[in-house]
Subunit: 318 residues, 2 copies
């Protein structure tokens, strides 16, 4: 098994898109294979620029991603896209038109597009996403775009790995601020108001402005609010420029370096935690764990006492 | 600090609602205090029946919870409610009328209602929720109701701790199945179609039926679909009966026991993991961690090599 994974990694690193796809599937389905792969490719990672695009379903994130991919391709950059959005054309939620529009990118060998399941991912979606970002990075992508519905905490966690976060909203979605509530406003570096030619766009912009004025300034970066226009091309370039400005700001202010260090620390703790759990399952077999579960269920013993008794054995396995 | 927490626990256990409120605030704001509290109250937990109510915003979950609380109070049972829903009247999202309606329960000393913030919770919302459920349990509640928007993975995780899960949907929400997608269908033991007097109710019921027929049967329990009627009282009793039936089924089939064992195992692993992270921070100070982060960021070293070097030191701290 390991040797075939090694082969897959070899192929992926040498630029085989299909091998990359297989690796991401493995990462979704099997957290221990995923951990192995990350350990092998880690030295090759840390080069890509990571862009997060988030916003409610139906806000037109995918159109925006589609246009941004074209912008990056115009500069001959290699792009990877991970879409985590049940309404995205990538993940199969949208109308046929969108799929056809995307097809040009699918056949481009310098564009890799992958949807991630929002459930059934072993070890959690944010684990699988962050591992997959590492695979896309090791594959040699210059830019990695993560598209996600800005709904829950997991989504926020996923998008936190990004260097730049674009929050997309649309005027006709009722109370904008309400929709963008769950921690998303704070993580936005750029705000895109999509379908900005429909009624209520100015009100939406005003709301975002007010919200931004209420929140703290972020190390000298004032998040711009950019109008985009759904399927039409105007606006996409302005957004692209805003993204490039933010990237430049990150590099010049030293924020990029800080983000990388924070990611390094997070990786360290995360990998260590996984290792520990793995060792735990080596030290305690399934039957014994079941027995311990029974003792806890009946409150015959509490987990704290059990852990105290287990520690000496766990130490031997570390 | 510890002594004042001990005092708070003492008060809470003796039935002081304000002390319980303070303890839950602590649990939200400080994961290490929370871990301490859980360790102290653990032997008192495991008695309450836990009911999860989940469904999209605007589906009328809160009205349903309100009515169920009345049903339980009629049987003189002590009820705790945790609401995690930005549109819930508990958490301040809804219209004044709802708040007034709820007021009767607020003044009932045998009903404890608490909203949880959907963000800013240290160590994550599901951590804080599961700890708070333990506090509500140790407080002596017979029933604990968790009300949550069935949106993301975190929500699903939160509701998984429940003995019985009621999934609420409403006819006018477009594609029902689409809305209920993210793993929620699979965890539903009972389906409530709310506002069942409006157009499309039968279609909604049919969709849920079809979906249920496609999924595997769950150890002999066939999830019933119950009509409820928003603010009006009819339907609530039927739902209440369905919930009681499921509880009875859990007890008689031995599923309740299995659920308790699974919760015991999950608690054990979870507490152990937290302990390990705590020990890690004792062994490695902030400056050293920053240095390690820098080495990883520059790919001078990879986290796997660093961990190998750290293990001997970590062992001493375990």
């Amino acid at each position: 098994m390991i040797s075939s994974i090694d082969e897959l990694i070899q192929k992926m690193v040498s630029g085989d898109k299909r091998a990359l796809g297989k690796i991401i599937t493995l990462m979704e389905e099997d957290s221990s294979s995923s951990a192995y792969i990350v350990s092998k490719i880690y030295p090759l990672t840390g080069k890509a620029y990571i862009l997060g695009i988030t916003g409610p379903p139906g806000s037109g994130k995918s159109s925006i991603v589609d246009k941004l991919v074209s912008c990056y391709r115009n500069e001959n950059l290699k792009v990877g896209v991970i879409a985590i959005d049940p309404t995205s054309p990538f993940t199969g939620g949208a109308i046929l038109g969108d799929r056809i529009r995307m097809r040009s990118h699918y056949t481009d060998k310098n564009v890799f597009i992958r949807s991630m399941a929002t459930r059934g991912t072993l070890g959690g979606l944010s684990r699988a996403t962050s591992d997959s970002v590492k695979a896309l990075d090791a594959f040699g992508n210059d830019v990695i775009i993560i598209e996600t519905v800005g709904a829950g905490q997991v989504e926020v966690d996923i998008v936190k790995v990004a260097d730049t976060v674009v929050v997309v909203s649309v005027p006709d979605m009722g109370d904008t601020i309400q929709k963008l509530k769950a921690g998303i406003m704070e993580i936005g570096n750029i705000f895109a108001v999509n379908k900005a030619d429909i009624d209520g766009a100015e009100k939406c912009i005003l709301e975002i402005k007010m919200m931004l004025e209420l929140s703290e300034t972020k190390n000298g970066w004032v998040p711009p609010i950019v109008k985009t226009f759904g399927d039409r091309d105007n606006g996409a370039n302005e957004l692209y420029e805003a993204i490039k400005n933010h990237h430049k700001y990150l590099l010049e202010s030293g924020r990029q370096e800080k983000k990388k260090i924070a990611r390094g620390k997070a990786d360290l703790i995360y990998i260590l935690q996984n290792l520990f759990i793995k060792k735990f399952y080596e030290a305690i077999n399934e039957e014994e764990l079941e027995e311990l579960g029974k003792k806890i269920a009946s409150r015959e013993k509490d987990p704290y006492t059990i852990i105290e008794e287990l520690i000496p054995r766990l130490k031997k396995f570390l």
